[in-house]
């Protein structure tokens, strides 16, 4: 019981630290580095390697912290992150058949696209100035491009790191025996 409680506390602490790093540290970085979405990368990593339940709780803690600090409406990050996890789980379960690098790359790319579209759509609903329609904004596409590139890079690094530690993962190409 104590061990389980300890694990929960460590999990909450790590998730909260992640939110703070994303909001305070990464937001202060210059240009393209600011586009790293560490929270989302961690979420998809958790979903891929630890399952939906852990990913959902991580999304809940991350979203709560981000909504708390942010000046956007409460729930923007909570809803977006939880919905992204649910969407990614659907892709993982129904579309992808193995745990290869390509699966992970595809999953993280789809999740990044889904998350960004979800956030701006939700935000646009509550935005009074409709002239800021996001599809016509050059910066939206730039952000999406940079964020996808960072996510793919992080996914490749993380997958190889985990693959070197465990033998559970599939090789990149099927080997002929």
């Amino acid at each position: 019981m104590l061990i389980k409680l300890g694990k929960i506390i460590v999990f909450i602490f790590l998730a909260s630290s992640l939110a703070l790093i994303q909001f305070s540290l990464i937001s202060a970085w210059p240009g393209i580095f600011r586009q790293i979405n560490l929270g989302l990368i961690s979420l998809i990593f958790t979903l891929f390697f630890f399952g939906q339940r852990s990913a959902l709780w991580l999304a809940l803690i991350l979203g709560f912290w981000l909504d708390l600090i942010s000046f956007k409406f409460f729930g923007l990050y909570l809803i977006s992150l939880v919905a992204t996890v649910l969407g990614a789980q659907w892709i993982l379960k129904d579309w992808l058949t193995n745990r290869s690098l390509y699966s992970f790359l595809l999953l993280i790319l789809m999740a990044t696209l889904a998350y960004n579209f979800l956030v701006v759509i939700l935000f646009s609903i509550f935005l009074t100035d409709r002239s800021l329609f996001f599809l016509a904004q050059k910066n939206f596409w730039l952000t999406l491009g940079y964020q996808s590139a960072w996510s793919l890079l992080a996914a490749a690094l993380l997958f190889n790191l985990v693959a070197s530690l465990t033998k559970k993962l599939q090789p990149v190409f099927l080997e002929r025996k």
């Binding site: 694990k7 929960i8 999990f11 909260s16 703070l20 790093i21 909001f23 305070s24 540290l25 990464i26 937001s27 202060a28 970085w29 210059p30 580095f33 600011r34 630890f50 399952g51 339940r53 852990s54 959902l56 709780w57 809940l60 709560f64 708390l68 600090i69 942010s70 000046f71 956007k72 409460f74 729930g75 923007l76 909570l78 939880v82 956030v119 701006v120 935000f123 935005l127 800021l132 996001f134 904004q137 910066n139 939206f140 596409w141 730039l142 952000t143 999406l144």
Partner: protein, 270 residues
């Protein structure tokens, strides 16, 4: 990892998710939220400073090629400013004497609340380049919407756009829609509104063609509206767009401080 044993762990998640929303809406969570924000402020501020140092060193390394030109410019600027400073000191001393004689209140007699920057947040989630700042002081500290925010050097850097009990969101003078009533320190004391331009510079539009604006003219707050005291430096004119066939002219203004590297600011309460 969190694992809830039982028949429906997903249901527990949904309940917690719903409760968070509900309790936030009816403001039951407010004390807990304020406590959590209070708890993270020091860490958040340190993390932001750390990120800012990285930003500064990254920008410095990129700008190295322009450094020599910049040094030459700054050297001549320092020489000019030294001469100006001497002249201003004379005027200031004379001014102080007159004020004392006339028993006027000091021009800088306002209360200021010092605040740490906690984070940067895009003005809208549309990937806009302009970034708002989030500071660790809010309504509880006496702040209110529209108040002016100055840097350590005393240059106005923005104003309060949004407030929570323990934090506030500041738009920078370079952000679009961050409007400040301003006056150019020229012969006619031309008045107008400044507005951010693409998160990079400040512009002052709708200036009548007859007004004479020169490069390096200083732009200050005009004090109109009452929320921001007059005389706070916004920046200096770096470009004047003056087409003979246009009714208005436009001035591009550059802030005297680097708005990307603010870690401590002060909110002026008039």
């Amino acid at each position: 990892m969190i694992k809830v044993k039982g028949k429906k762990p997903f249901l527990i998640f949904v309940v917690v998710f719903g409760l968070l929303f509900f309790l936030h809406l009816i403001q039951v969570l407010r004390p807990l939220e304020n406590f959590l924000l209070y708890l993270i402020k020091p860490v958040s501020s340190k993390l932001y400073s750390l990120g800012n140092s990285f930003d500064q060193s990254y920008t410095d390394s990129r700008d190295k090629t322009d450094l020599n030109v910049k040094i030459a410019d700054l050297t001549s600027e320092v020489a000019r400013l030294t001469v100006d400073k001497a002249a201003w000191q004379e005027v200031t001393e004379e001014n102080q004497k007159l004020r004392r004689q006339l028993n006027f209140l000091s021009a800088n007699n306002f209360k200021a609340v010092t605040a740490n920057v906690l984070a940067k947040e895009a003005a809208a989630e549309t990937g806009e380049q302009s970034q708002d700042l989030i500071i660790d002081k809010g309504a509880r500290d006496g702040l209110r919407l529209g108040l002016g925010v100055i840097s350590e050097e005393g240059v106005i850097v923005g104003k309060i756009m949004d407030l929570k009990e323990t934090s506030a969101r500041i738009c920078l003078t370079t952000s679009p829609d961050c409007k400040l009533p301003a006056a150019i320190q020229n012969q006619n004391k031309t008045q107008g509104l400044t507005d951010g331009d693409l998160g990079l510079t400040i512009k002052m539009s709708y200036i009548p063609q007859l007004e004479k604006i020169a490069y390096s003219d200083i732009v200050v707050t005009s004090g109109l509206g009452g929320n921001i005291p007059r005389g706070l430096v916004i920046g200096k004119v770096v470009q004047v767009k003056n087409e003979s066939n246009e009714v208005w002219q436009e001035a591009t203004i550059e802030s005297l401080v680097n708005l990307n590297n603010l870690t401590v600011v002060a909110v002026i309460i008039p």
